[in-house]
Symmetry: C2
Subunit: 236 residues, 2 copies
């Protein structure tokens, strides 16, 4: 029986949101009974040191803890690994080097989902992910132009993420609306929700001012597509 | 680092709902950052044979698959096991016999949450769980009287569960409302949602006619209470 490994807990609600998207997409693909869904092994480790703090030079590296999670998934024979945390992908190459199972890259899946007619793309991510340029490099390589937040807007994004992690979804949505308004005024034609806490804040919004690529959803789509094409929804 | 083991996927959305309750309860207990949440290992195995069919004599036993899940959790050194599926608890003793980690009993946690002043309690569960008398025996042992569904009402409960497993929450709520109305007319003073799909149907209802004990929530409360009392929310 093939299992999808999820290295999660970064943060806790984002992992649950990701799992729910995987289940919903599998239902949409025709699953009516439990036995038509996908087996998962979720190593949910919220104690992994904060990724953004490490990238900003204010906290310890999460890499040893990330590698312990990758090792646990491989020891349990998962056939694929996904990590619903964008910031953790700064250490993507190091994790791949230690993993037998392939790892889907959340930022690659997200950038690939941008419509071709878009040019200017707002980058919304943790301060650390923004600082290390993960999305900016990937957007430039595919011919998109990054719209980078000013200091106040990044503070709204960081506050939004912090509120979701604390379970305060209502407050998080207000910060998100302020950030999106700013990006729309800068001429951004689309935005990437490049942190898996951010979609939890935007799910409550009626009409966001710019279309958004949801990194949690794009990772879930890539995961379900891979798994269904390998027949992992069928009991072996 | 102590981990809570979850034997899940029965069904998929019920497991996600359970995880979300654990996270919400941990946030309510004061967690503001990822690192203050509880480590989980989720073995999510939707391919486990249908528990209710087995209890009704129309399907194969899930016990071998349940024991493989229990074994995987123990091999990964979890310190506690919980199973957000009521029907699976028919095989509780057999699973405990093969597990080093203690297993919290979902029905014990649920019956313990009934208010003392209540006498007549509606039993809402899969056909199989109802047939094997899991809740009826436990209620009788604690001095409560079971209100058992008639055939039409059990059909509504089964249809509700089936709809949730197929991702059709709207349709599931209509079946649940019909069942609850019937139980209220029989003089039930409270009801036990003794299947972890059922709370997903009732979450959309404005004012249920009788107060309900939610087995998913009671299992989550028992889990978080155990884990916080052991300090598992603190990074070791």
């Amino acid at each position: 029986m093939a299992m999808i490994g999820i290295l999660g807990g970064m943060g806790p609600l984002a992992t649950v949101d990701f799992m729910e998207r995987v289940i919903d997409l599998t239902s949409s693909a025709g699953a009516l009974r439990d036995q038509q869904h996908l087996p998962l092994l979720v190593v949910h480790l919220p104690h992994i040191p904060d990724r953004s703090d490490a990238l900003l030079g204010t906290g310890e590296s999460p890499l040893p803890a990330l590698l312990r999670g990758i090792d646990m998934l491989n020891r349990n024979d998962v056939e694929l690994i996904v990590i619903p945390c964008n910031s953790a992908h700064h250490w993507y190459d190091a994790m791949c080097a230690e993993s037998r199972a392939p790892i889907i890259h959340i930022a690659e899946a997200s950038v690939a989902a941008l419509p071709a007619e878009v040019t200017r793309v707002a980058v919304m991510a943790t301060g650390g992910t923004f600082h290390c340029g993960l999305y900016q490099r990937m957007l430039a390589a595919r011919g998109f132009e990054s719209v980078e937040p000013d200091e106040t807007t990044q503070q709204h994004i960081d506050a939004c993420i912090r509120d979701v992690k604390a379970g305060k979804i209502g407050a998080s949505t207000e910060h998100m609306a302020r950030a999106l308004d700013w990006f729309a005024r800068q001429g951004a034609e689309a935005g990437i929700l490049g942190c898996t806490e951010l979609p939890l804040a935007t799910q409550q919004m009626d009409a966001p001012p710019i279309p958004m690529i949801d990194s949690t959803l794009e990772l879930a789509r890539a995961t379900v597509s891979y798994a269904l094409s390998h027949g992992w929804n069928r009991a072996q």
